[in-house]
């Protein structure tokens, strides 16, 4: 007997939650306990009184599992609202990466040229290295990192995705 896997879709979920002890463990634990996937997770408080945080989770799963994830998250007492950005119309998503690249001579010039194309900023430099700061969609960051790998990628730090619905309304 072999274990069958189902086809997955990527979804970006945006949650507002009470900013209280254990909330992140509750959410991360729900994903592990029920066998859901987390591709990335970001969290920071977003109100003046620090009472509410926004958590953005990139997950993947079959549509039925995504519906369950939303329903299960919504059931947690400190969760205010769960929005599936992928389902709820156009939205903006961005992540930020710091990309360290080492090289000399032509490699160095090529790295700078590509950084320009991707509108990445140089935030640190030595004679033999750069750290670039790049923001964009996950795909854009992936592409940039992929190119840098061919030149001399040393290491990468990524924030994971944050996202908001387009237009004037709050979600």
């Amino acid at each position: 007997m072999h274990i069958q896997e189902e086809l997955s879709q990527r979804h970006v979920l945006s949650l507002t939650v009470s900013n209280e002890a254990g909330i992140l463990a509750r959410i991360a634990g729900l994903f592990t306990a029920r066998g859901y996937n987390i591709d990335s997770l970001t969290v920071a408080d977003i109100t003046a009184d620090h009472g509410v945080s926004r958590i953005t989770i990139v997950t993947n799963g079959p549509p039925k599992v995504i519906d369950q994830i939303i329903a299960q998250l919504d059931r947690l007492v400190p969760v205010h609202k769960v929005t599936d950005l992928t389902e709820n119309g156009p939205f903006v998503e961005r992540e930020l990466a710091l990309v360290k690249v080492a090289g000399i001579g032509e490699d160095r010039i090529e790295a700078l040229r590509l950084a320009d194309v991707f509108r990445a900023k140089v935030v640190d430099t030595t004679i033999e290295s750069f750290i670039f700061e790049i923001t964009g969609t996950t795909e854009k960051v992936d592409n940039f990192v992929g190119l840098m790998r061919q030149i001399g990628l040393v290491e990468v730090g990524r924030t994971g995705v944050v996202g908001l619905i387009r237009g004037k309304e709050a979600n």
Binding site: M1, V17, S18, A25, D67, A71, Q72, V77, P78, V79
Partner: protein, 583 residues
């Protein structure tokens, strides 16, 4: 404002919340609370023998009275011993508040004596949990904890209180209920969903009401409304294990429990229905059998207070998120307003009569051994003849299924069993808790010889509080359900399923001051049951039953409702790996 210690604040909150009984066990980290409870005028403390016992007693109390069960245990092992019962309450949606002691705040995280990360450990087996770090917050948290445990889909809530927080003082005034702004369970259904549900029900030619524990959790009114809706529609009614009693087993419209050990007629009616109205049940794997063959030609309406239960396993056509009583009330009102009449279900009932004629719960009798089904049937008849209120609890296994099949329940809150988690060791403490909340009822734990041993230490608790609970053991010297699965799946290789070195249950009972009765053959059965019921105090009955009886009918793992095994002759003794891999 007068200051109170954390322990006094807690006890004051329990009084204000109407708590009458606390099931618990003292220890270092709850000594201040125990001192505050010393000789308390209104709160009765039941001293258990093991913390797991306390949690199941609280569940039994809650399920039989409709009030939340309250547990008080110490830090570390006290809390970890409670985890099984907390998880059981989560899976069966039982309102329960568990107060755990914790090491003082300055010692948290230092691996202090009897320290465990209680909020961490219980985070995913509670509806919600708290660590309270200041006495000033305690009253608010305790009130919220009871609110969360008892509203929406009920469940267990843990409040972890460090010892220094129990001793430190804070100004106290009875708090206003302040609940998380994010907590607002939907209890009233959308009108459009009710409309769709009523119209589908009015048009259905082969409807069935598939009811579950949610009806009982919603309160006695929900059971009354279910009966009214069943009368209005004339539809057959089946129920999950958890929902037994919400609809009377004595009704003509009752087709018995469904699922793995449900009746032939209930499962076939589910399979052939054109409309399934699911009321407070959750399409559990024990109910659906093989999913792709589950009720293939039916429309489905699902009423549940928990949105995450809907479309979790089976996709439904009309979701109705609401409290059961509220939704049934709305449906009945709309049904009457639209002047809907009963659809002629003669043909549907004729088909059901055909399935009923299989008499799927029948069993062969006549040997020298007591058939376990006969023992349950006689117990049912004898308890019914007393005319008294009867509460039945069970452990987990074959005896549980036989009790569900052969004991008739006509009222809610009289059947207490561990359905979701399937916890051996649940039934006996649950009976103690139920007896505590219903002193005038006959409370019987139907048990197996293996599972009764899982919390047998509570014999002392029943003795101490003069609780006249009865334990009725169907003793076949096996973990019968394990043995049954080994016969079905592993060619009868009985790996570790024989109950070797069983105690003498009669003498064991007597050692605790109980009455012990042994029933060894069919000719002793009636008299033994009568003696049990006529004895005033607690009684343990060791009823020796046929050793190799199995529980039928049965839908084996991976099979459809239409592929039920009706008797042992249909057992093949082995299964495919795909079927073996299912629970």
């Amino acid at each position: 404002m007068a200051e109170k210690s954390g322990a006094d604040i807690l006890v004051q909150c329990l009084v204000d919340l109407g708590v009458e009984v606390v099931f618990g066990y003292p220890g270092g980290a709850v000594l201040p609370i125990y001192d505050a409870l010393y000789n308390h005028p209104t709160i009765k403390h039941v001293l258990v023998r093991h913390e797991q016992g306390a949690t199941h007693m609280a569940e039994g109390y809650a399920r039989s009275t409709g009030k939340p069960g309250v547990v008080l245990v110490t830090s570390g092992p006290g809390a970890t011993n409670a985890v099984t019962g907390i998880t059981d309450a989560l899976l069966d949606s039982i309102p329960m508040v568990v107060i755990t002691g914790q090491v003082p705040t300055q010692l948290i995280g230092t691996d202090a004596f009897q320290e465990a990360d209680t909020v961490g450990i219980t985070r995913h087996c509670t509806k919600h949990n708290y660590l309270v770090k200041t006495p000033a917050k305690l009253a608010e948290v305790v009130h919220e904890a009871f609110h969360i445990a008892t509203t929406g889909r009920p469940g267990p809530v843990v409040v972890d209180i460090p010892k220094n927080v129990q001793i430190a003082t804070a100004p106290y005034a009875k708090p206003e209920l302040k609940v998380h702004a994010s907590y607002h369970p939907q209890t009233k259904a959308d009108a459009s969903a009710i409309d769709a549900a009523v119209e589908m029900l009015a048009a259905a030619e082969r409807p069935i009401l598939y009811t579950g524990g949610g009806v009982i959790n919603s309160g006695p009114q929900a059971s009354a409304l279910l009966r009214e809706l069943a009368a209005l529609t004339g539809a057959p009614v089946t129920s999950t294990l958890m929902g037994l009693g919400a609809f009377p087993a004595s009704s003509d419209q009752w087709v018995g429990m469904l699922g793995m050990h449900g009746t032939y007629e209930a499962n076939w009616a589910m399979n052939q229905a054109d409309l399934i109205l699911c009321i407070g049940a959750r399409f559990d794997d024990r109910v659906t059998g093989r999913l792709d063959a589950f009720a293939p030609n039916s429309k489905k309406i699902h009423i549940d207070i928990d949105r995450s239960s809907i479309n979790k396993i089976v996709d439904v056509d009309v979701p109705v998120v609401a409290d059961i009583a509220s939704a049934l009330d709305d449906m009945i009102a709309l049904w009457k307003q639209r002047n809907h009449q009963k659809v002629d279900l003669t043909e549907w009932w004729a088909r059901i009569a055909g399935w009923r004629a299989k008499k799927s719960l029948d069993y062969a009798e006549g040997g020298a051994e007591i058939m376990p089904q006969r023992a349950i049937a006689d117990l049912y008849a004898a308890t019914k003849a007393t005319g008294k209120d009867v509460i039945i609890t069970t452990e987990v296994g074959q005896h549980q299924m036989w009790a569900a099949q052969h004991f008739g329940f006509d009222a809610p809150n009289k059947w207490l069993t561990s359905g979701g988690l399937g916890t051996m060791g649940y039934g006996f403490p649950a009976a103690i808790g139920a007896q505590m909340g219903n002193p005038d009822s006959i409370t019987i734990c139907i048990a197996g010889d293996a599972s009764i041993q899982m919390n047998i230490q509570e014999l002392g608790t029943a003795s101490q509080y003069r609780l006249p609970v009865k334990i009725f053991i169907l003793n076949n010297e096996y973990m019968g359900m394990v043995r049954q699965w080994q016969e079905l799946t592993y060619e009868s290789r009985y790996s570790n399923s024989y109950s070797d070195s069983l105690p003498d249950f009669v003498k064991l009972g007597e050692a605790y001051g109980w009455t012990g009765i042994r029933i060894e053959g069919p000719q002793e059965l009636e008299a033994g049951i009568r003696q049990m019921l006529e004895t005033d105090g607690p009684v343990i009955v060791d009823c020796r039953v046929a050793k190799l009886s199995n529980c039928f009918p049965m839908i084996p793992s991976g099979a459809a409702h239409t592929e039920m095994l009706l008797d042992p002759s249909q057992v093949k003794g082995s299964m495919t790996d795909e079927a073996k891999a299912l629970v």
